[in-house]
């Protein structure tokens, strides 16, 4: 894409751009930060499905049967699998972000440790939700 096509670059001509993402080596800090946004957008799709499920339940048995049929199909299970991991990641890493907002955990070793803790907690939480869903 040429520089003048996008609104942000109007008037900047051919001046050099600052180094972009691809010049940096991926690290736990940057990758987990990117995934926080990606899972946030992903969770939006999941939340819309949950809203649909409630609206269908209020509408009646027929409308509910349609969305229930989708969610209990193999593809629906795949969507729920992705949504559960995405949700648990965003929740656990979100608590990590809130701790940063409160002023804690900025040392490099702490950032790495809390990142790994958030990942492990998200995995366990997702497995816990699967267990609750399957057992009941």
């Amino acid at each position: 894409m040429s520089d003048v096509e996008t609104g942000a670059d109007i008037g900047r001509g051919n001046r050099p751009l600052s180094p972009h993402l691809q010049v940096y080596k991926p690290q736990i800090t940057s990758v987990m930060s990117a995934f926080h946004r990606i899972t946030g957008v992903g969770n939006s799709i999941g939340a819309a499905l949950v809203a649909w499920w409630f609206i269908a339940a209020a509408t009646g048995e027929g409308a509910f049967g349609f969305i229930d049929g989708f969610l209990t199909s193999w593809f629906g299970h795949l969507v729920l699998l992705g949504f559960t991991f995405s949700l648990c990641y965003h929740l656990c890493n979100g608590i990590r972000h809130l701790l940063w907002d409160a002023g804690y955990g900025f040392e490099l070793d702490q950032v790495k440790t809390t990142g790994l803790v958030a990942l492990a907690a998200a995995g366990l939480m997702a497995l816990g939700l699967f267990f609750v869903g399957w057992m009941n």
Binding site: T6, G7, A8, D9, R37, G40, V41, N43, S44, A47, A48, V50, A51, W53, F54, I55, A57, A58, T59, E61, F64, G65, D68, L71, T72, L80, L87, L91, G94, I95, H97, L98, D101, L129, V132, G133, N136
Partner: protein, 126 residues
Amino acid sequence: MTMLTPRARVRGLGSARSGTEHWWSHRLSAISLAILAPFFFIPFAIALGKPWVEVVSIYKHPFHAIVAAAFMLTVFWHMRLGLQVVVEDYIHAPALRTGLLIAVKLGTMLLGFAAAFSIAMIAFSV
């Protein structure tokens, strides 16, 4: 040395004309959701995949209905603030940017209200 008047400093507003409300509201909704999450998702995981009659009977319970409605309203508010930032960061074409920002604001509010209203309908149905 600041160029701001004392009044402008107190208000905390720069050239963007809005201050920290967006950031603060995003964090406040995040804390609310983190607290509500187990109370919403455990009954939800139990209800998901059950027949309609059983799902309705779960959400007829005032506790589950109130938690679910509060969670849905808060989640779509949190989503509105988050998606707004994503659009503002990555979409630069003016018409598309404005269109998407309007769609995010109206869409999330519509879904949040519709979900909460539906839960209330289930709870109040005979």
